[in-house]
Symmetry: C2
Subunit: 265 residues, 2 copies
């Protein structure tokens, strides 16, 4: 039976209702076209486009947008940029459809990205509280160093960045995916949830990390582990591929991992 | 001769004129109090406050604010936070004055932060162009790996993060201090200035780095080195200490370095 792009989009957005405004729009493609295969990914990179073509999949469902900006705010400034032009041409010539799935997935109950991250960390049963932008995990006493090593192993990371003492013991951990590591979200959480440790994806460097540094200097045992933005959200897009495969058993569904964006030198 | 806090603030802001609005205000202290010593720093951490007290200096001139937010946007949410309360009490009890010097220093001609960074990199003579938020440096052909190692050595960094090929050759480099690494500033610069490499302080992870990754995938030789926010701006605050010492020879002026905010694990 034929599955169209609009059927997939409907299935993805239905559990939430209608969000306005949203960045989750069909960036490329004909909604009535038949889906030959789906690739989910964190970032729809040039490499992911090529992978989709090789797999014979014509629908990419990506957490972030193709042109390096959450609101596409400077795409106008890129209209003569060779990287933009080549990527745009590649998508059109390959006949790829590209749907961004960001706001809706975060509004699932529970948040789909957080659910994927908790599963990847094998902490789903340890979560004692879910807030809109954070979950709280309760563990038996363990050091920051042990958690950092555990997280690296579970998520397949080559490094994490840490503020605070590695030998400090933790039990209550706040987990924030994506760009939710900013002070506005993460700092008040320490006191409200009596956290020992925050683990987040990305956030401004002199907000939450500097709060933790000052807390440590004042003799309070706090710590922070920074995963990286993609590193904290990719598992949620992998989980999405599993969900889509179950929902559309006749359509081949793949998850395309992005290699680490940085190497540490 | 007595030097007051307001005299120091006037000397610092005079070359620019009056900026409105600005985050550069006296956060603590009496403008008519006599200055016993000045400490310049990137981040006025708990440790820097203690260092100022030990040095007998009662005026801290800091690039960033004390409470983990550029616009102090969530300070209200911290009014019961023990880290906030202890830091606030420490500043008041020690009788410290705290002046933020961010917008004005960036508006100096040339930008004081950029001037300090270029000096620290020994690239002042290599700068061929200064824009409002970036400078362009022209070097004899050199690999990304060599530049990364050079930058680490000059700035005393234990690591940098790199996107793109390490063995690629570069000649034209765009340099952006602080949080100017976002796509809006950094991405159009590649094409406009025909850059091989951008070196920036901090920016969102899926903006400029993903542009560089796509460019590389398309066969364009581009690369990115990420220094860290403080790592890119501290030299400018050290330069400021030298300038203040020259301007106020009778006042002891110190630069307080912040240790690295992260360790990589």
């Amino acid at each position: 039976m034929k599955t169209t792009i609009s059927q997939v989009m409907r299935a993805l957005t239905e559990p939430v209702g209608v969000l306005e405004p949203t960045v989750d729009t069909l960036k490329y493609g004909d909604p009535e076209a038949e889906v030959t295969g789906i690739v989910t990914t964190f970032m729809p990179t040039q490499a992911v486009l090529e992978e989709a073509v090789e797999l014979g999949a014509n629908l990419i469902v990506a957490h972030e947008g193709p042109f390096f900006s959450h609101q596409d705010s400077f795409v106008q400034a890129l209209k003569q940029d060779p990287v933009y032009l080549a990527k745009d041409a590649c998508i059109r010539e390959a006949g790829l459809a590209l749907f961004r799935f960001h706001d809706y997935w975060h509004r699932y109950q529970p948040d789909g990205i957080m659910e994927g991250l908790l599963e990847a960390l094998a902490w789903s049963d340890r979560a004692v509280r879910h807030e809109a932008v954070a979950s709280v995990v309760q563990l038996p006493p363990v050091t920051v160093r042990e958690i950092a090593q555990y997280v690296k192993r579970q998520l397949g990371l080559s490094y994490v960045r840490v503020t605070g003492g590695l030998d400090q013991t933790c039990e209550r951990i706040g987990l924030l995916a994506g760009y939710r590591g900013g002070g506005e979200h993460a700092i008040p959480l320490f006191e409200r949830e009596q956290l020992d440790l925050v683990v987040y994806g990305e956030g401004p460097e002199w907000e939450t990390p500097e709060y933790v540094r000052d807390a440590v200097r004042q003799g309070r045992g706090k710590a922070l582990i920074v995963l990286g933005h993609a590193e904290s959200e990719a598992a949620g897009m992998k989980l999405l591929a599993d969900r889509l495969q179950t929902r559309f058993p006749d359509v081949p569904v793949h998850f395309a991992a992005n290699p680490p964006i940085f190497q540490v030198l």
